[in-house]
Every structure is written in structure tokens, then in C-alpha cells.
């Protein structure tokens, strides 16, 4: 922040002014941006943006007032979630979501490991590095839901498109973080295995793998968690899982069922978070 603080008032004058004020009992903390002009400029541009953004919002207040009743319904639904009347569909959806999550994470991590190895500057040659970095950039840019639309068009409706979507998104996420971790490894073990005449596979297996394994496990569990949350979304476009059930219930204004599904998602996410915290403590 201090880089923006090159303005008209010299630091010493400002300092003296502050001390004088403080002696009169009006001490103030240093401003974040030193130059007064910069401060004015920043405040004005923020104000301008807020006005512009406000103009672009087009709120239909009568519609909002109508909807408020539904809003209250929805909040109330959390106090009386309805697990039973659509219990069968919820169970099938959840089971499908969980299987999709696990399968996709396994496939995604398995594919991400070679990409991650290729994207680490210290162990991959230049052409492989660029190729793998390109894969990472492409798989990371698009939201899961957009990929899901494409895959549903290609593979048809159903959980298979969902599995491919989540696996695809997992590749970019895992490979990027794995490559960064490999680049941060200590180079002494790498050199030591090299010096004993170990082959490439032995080199990876005995020098790199032990150094990155705890983080790889932690990241995989984290991604499992993310994939479960995403699996609730991609069902909206027909890629299987609990999302389809949730979408139907919301469109029917059947908020009691929606609340039940959302509560189940929250509980499962909480459980997986506790579990992954426990496993991470155990691996490190």
C-alpha cells in the first residue's frame, strides 16, 4: 500500500503535523495511503463506481415485496425440513452424488499426478512443462457447470457426464497445487537418489513422492469436499446427483424439501471437514 504514498506532503512535515495534533490530544493512526491527492482520487473513483453500479441494478421492488412471503417461507422451512415426503428421491440423489464425488476424485487425482509432475519446473523439460501448464490453465478457467453443459451434450444425461466434469475440474486444481509443491521440495534428496544411479521412476518414487505425499493426501481430501459441493450444482444441467432433486424442489416452491437437502449437504460437508482435518493431522 505504501507504494502509492508518493505525494506532495513530505513525510517529515506530515509527521510533525501528526505530533502537533497528538500533543493537543487528537492522535490519529497513519493514513493507509499517504498522499492526500491519492486518497481523494481513490475515494472519488470508488464513489463513481458505486453510482455506476447502482444505476445498472434494476430492482423491481413490487416483485421483491411479493417474493418476501416466499423468502419467509424459505427461512421457515429450515425450522421444519421435510426429509420424508420425497425421501426416496433425496436418498437416490445423495447416493449418486457421493459415488460421483468419489469416482471423480480418484480419476481426477490419478490424471492430475502426471500432469502435476510435468508442470513442475525442476523435474520436467521445457516442452513438457508448457504443455502441462496449458492443460492446467484450460481446466481451471471454466466453471464446473459450463464443462458439465458440454459433457452432457457429448455423453448424454446422467452421472457419467458428472463424473467426467468433476474429474476434469480436479485435474487443473490438483495438478497446479501439486506442481507448486514439487517445485518447493528440497533438492538434496533429489540429488542423492540421482547420485546413487537410480532411474527416473526410482527418483520420483524415493525422492519426490515422500516429500509431497502429506500435502497430496490433504489436497485430495479437500478436493473430495469441493467435488461433493459441486456435485450438488451440476445436477441442474442434467449431470446427475442431488442437484436435480434440489432444482426440482426449488422450482416447485417445495422449500421444506429444499431445506432438508441443503441441511444434508451442510452436514456432510461438515463431517468431511472434520474427517479431513483428522487425517491431515495424522499424515503430517
Amino acid at each position: 500500500m505504501s507504494s502509492a504514498g508518493t505525494g506532495s506532503a513530505s513525510p517529515s512535515a506530515l509527521e510533525q503535523q501528526r505530533i502537533a495534533h497528538a500533543r493537543q490530544g487528537r492522535w490519529r493512526p497513519l493514513p493507509l495511503v499517504r498522499s492526500q491527492h491519492w486518497r481523494w482520487f481513490i475515494n472519488l473513483s470508488v464513489l463513481l463506481y458505486v453510482v455506476l453500479a447502482w444505476l445498472s441494478i434494476d430492482v423491481n421492488w413490487s416483485r421483491v415485496a411479493q417474493g418476501m412471503e416466499r423468502g419467509q417461507d424459505f427461512v421457515g422451512a429450515f425450522l421444519r425440513p421435510d426429509f420424508t415426503s420425497r425421501g426416496g428421491e433425496i436418498l437416490t440423489g445423495l447416493w449418486e452424488s457421493l459415488t460421483m464425488t468419489f469416482t471423480a476424485t480418484v480419476i481426477g487425482v490419478a490424471l492430475a499426478i502426471p500432469v502435476g509432475l510435468g508442470a513442475a519446473r525442476n523435474i520436467a523439460p521445457m516442452p513438457v512443462y508448457f504443455f502441462c501448464r496449458a492443460i492446467i490453465a484450460i481446466t481451471r478457467t471454466f466453471q464446473e457447470i459450463i464443462i458439465a453443459i458440454l459433457f452432457v451434450t457429448m455423453f448424454g444425461f446422467g452421472p457419467l457426464a458428472g463424473v467426467f466434469t468433476l474429474a476434469f475440474a480436479t485435474i487443473g486444481f490438483m495438478a497446479k497445487l501439486l506442481a507448486e509443491d514439487i517445485e518447493d521440495t528440497q533438492k538434496e534428496p533429489l540429488e542423492a537418489i540421482r547420485a546413487t544411479g537410480g532411474g527416473w521412476l526410482q527418483w520420483i518414487n524415493y525422492a519426490v513422492q515422500p516429500q509431497v505425499m502429506p500435502r497430496l493426501i490433504g489436497l485430495s481430501l479437500y478436493r473430495l469436499d469441493i467435488n461433493f459441493r459441486e456435485s450438488a450444482v451440476i445436477g441442474i444441467v442434467g449431470a446427475g446427483g442431488i442437484g436435480a432433486t434440489l432444482n426440482t424442489s426449488i422450482n416447485r416452491y417445495d422449500y421444506d424439501t429444499s431445506a432438508a437437502i441443503l441441511l444434508l449437504i451442510i452436514v456432510i460437508v461438515l463431517m468431511s471437514e472434520y474427517l479431513s482435518g483428522y487425517v491431515r493431522k495424522w499424515t503430517q
Binding site: I57, T141, I146, F155, A232, I266
Partner: protein, 270 residues
């Protein structure tokens, strides 16, 4: 060191036998679980659709290239809406997450019950994707970018709240003690001992979330919550894949720029 004797010649082993068996058993259990899950997926899949996936993908790509650049002009307004949804939504989310983080942090919370409540709100907000919030809000406040902003805000509360309360819990206690011992009030301690310590983390978290929100805002239109997703949805429903490709290119460019901005700002503050 685990050593196995083969005809009296010691051979180095990486692990003790028992540990090695346990690891193999773990892999086998994992593999079985994977196969079980794969069977469930496979049973629910219509494999006939899969056989022509290659030709489908080929024809899809063929219809996407070249992108239909003629609609670029009409996409600028939706793109501006998307950026507004992300920015205003992030700002709203931060406004709510900020006090929540102080309630949720162990060292600044006024009461354990409030802390539990704040943590509950943070977890609920985090577990539910912005797209689901958007679906709900569209039925409540009607379609449009207002619903999108609220959805982004609701999702951001949990993210910013969680990272911020963790940052608050990690502060150095000495400045807090020093100020308390001078007789400073609670708010003064928060303002002059806690706030300066979490300021860099706060700026970093906010910009990071803004970057994520730009990506998420591009898809909110799929459920009617405004932005460039509306145009994308319309193009997909019309099977106008050349127009979809244009939208993809625009989204790609916007995401790259926002990622660059976010990386720059985070680099400057941390």
C-alpha cells in the same frame, strides 16, 4: 532399518512388513470402493449415448469454430453486469462477513454462544454454492442481477468469514495486552491492536474472493440471475454453438484479467 534376509544376504526394505501389509490392504479397500462406486455410475448410465461421444464432440467443436464475433458488441453490457454482480456482491459479502468474523474468532468473541451461531452461519454459507443461492433468490426476489448480487454475497460471507476469523485467531497477543493495560476500551483494542494485524490478510482474502466471484458470476445467468450467463444460456438453448464459443472466449479473457489483477494486489499487500 527394515531388512529382509534373502539367502543370508540382507536386502533393504522401505517399510516394516506389517506396515507394508497395512498399506496394501488400504489400497485394496480403496480400489474395491472405487469399483463399487463405478458400478453404481455405470448402472445409471445409458451407454448407447456414449458410443457416438467422439463424433458428438467433433461436431460440437466444428460448430464452435470459428466463433461468431458479430455478437461481441451486444455482449459488452452483460459483461459489465457480470463484473458488477461480482464486485457489489463481494462488497456486500465482506460487509456482513467482517463483524461475523470477530464474533467467530475465539479471542475476540463476546460470548461462546454467539461464536457457535457465527460459525454455524459461516459453515452454512460456505457449503452451498452460489448457483444454488441464485436459484433460491430468483424465486424470491425475481430474476435479474439483484438476485445474482445477493447470491454472490451470501456465498462470500462464509469464505471471507472463515479465512478472516482464522487470521484473527492467529494474531500476536502482545499488542492486545499492551493496549488493554493502558485502559483502552474493547473497541479501541479492536481498532488499534487487532485491525492493523489482520489488514493485509483481509485485503488479500477480499481480492481473492473477488477473483473467484468473477468466475462464478459468469454462470449465474444459467438460472436467471443476470450477467453474461443469460446470453450463454440463450445461445445454448438455440444450439447456436458459434455464439457460445464467443461467450467462452470473453469469459476466458475476463477471468485471465481478474486473475492478473488479484495476483498483483495480493503481491502488493502481502
Amino acid at each position: 532399518m527394515p531388512v529382509k534376509h534373502v539367502k543370508d544376504v540382507p536386502v533393504w526394505q522401505r517399510r516394516e512388513p506389517l506396515k507394508q501389509y497395512a498399506i496394501w490392504a488400504g489400497w485394496m479397500l480403496g480400489g474395491m470402493l472405487f469399483l463399487l462406486c463405478w458400478k453404481v455410475i455405470s448402472d445409471n448410465t445409458i451407454w448407447e449415448f456414449m458410443y457416438d461421444a467422439g463424433t458428438q464432440a467433433g461436431s460440437l467443436l466444428g460448430r464452435m469454430v470459428p466463433p461468431d464475433w458479430s455478437i461481441t458488441g451486444s455482449l459488452m453490457m452483460p459483461l459489465w453486469d457480470t463484473i458488477n454482480i461480482a464486485t457489489v456482491g463481494t462488497a456486500l459479502g465482506i460487509l456482513i462477513a467482517f463483524p461475523l468474523a470477530f464474533l467467530a474468532a475465539r479471542n475476540t468473541t463476546p460470548h461462546p454462544a454467539l461464536r457457535a451461531l457465527a460459525l454455524g452461519i459461516i459453515v452454512s454459507s460456505r457449503s452451498i454454492n452460489a448457483l444454488i443461492w441464485a436459484m433460491l433468490l430468483v424465486t424470491i426476489v425475481g430474476p435479474g442481477i439483484f438476485a445474482g448480487m445477493l447470491a454472490i454475497a451470501l456465498r462470500s460471507i462464509g469464505f471471507v468469514g472463515k479465512l478472516l476469523y482464522e487470521a484473527i485467531e492467529e494474531i500476536h497477543p502482545t499488542p492486545v495486552e499492551a493496549l488493554s493495560s493502558t485502559g483502552a476500551s474493547r473497541t479501541q483494542v479492536l481498532a488499534y491492536a487487532v485491525w492493523p494485524q489482520i489488514l493485509p490478510a483481509f485485503a488479500g482474502i477480499s481480492v481473492y474472493r473477488w477473483d473467484i466471484n468473477i468466475r462464478e458470476a459468469t454462470t449465474l445467468g444459467l438460472v436467471g440471475a443476470g450477467g453474461i450467463g443469460l446470453q450463454m444460456n440463450a445461445a445454448i438453448n438455440n444450439l447456436a454453438w458459434a455464439q457460445v464459443a464467443t461467450v467462452f472466449v470473453l469469459i476466458f479473457a475476463t477471468v485471465i484479467v481478474s486473475e492478473w489483477v488479484s495476483a498483483k494486489v495480493r503481491h502488493a499487500v502481502i
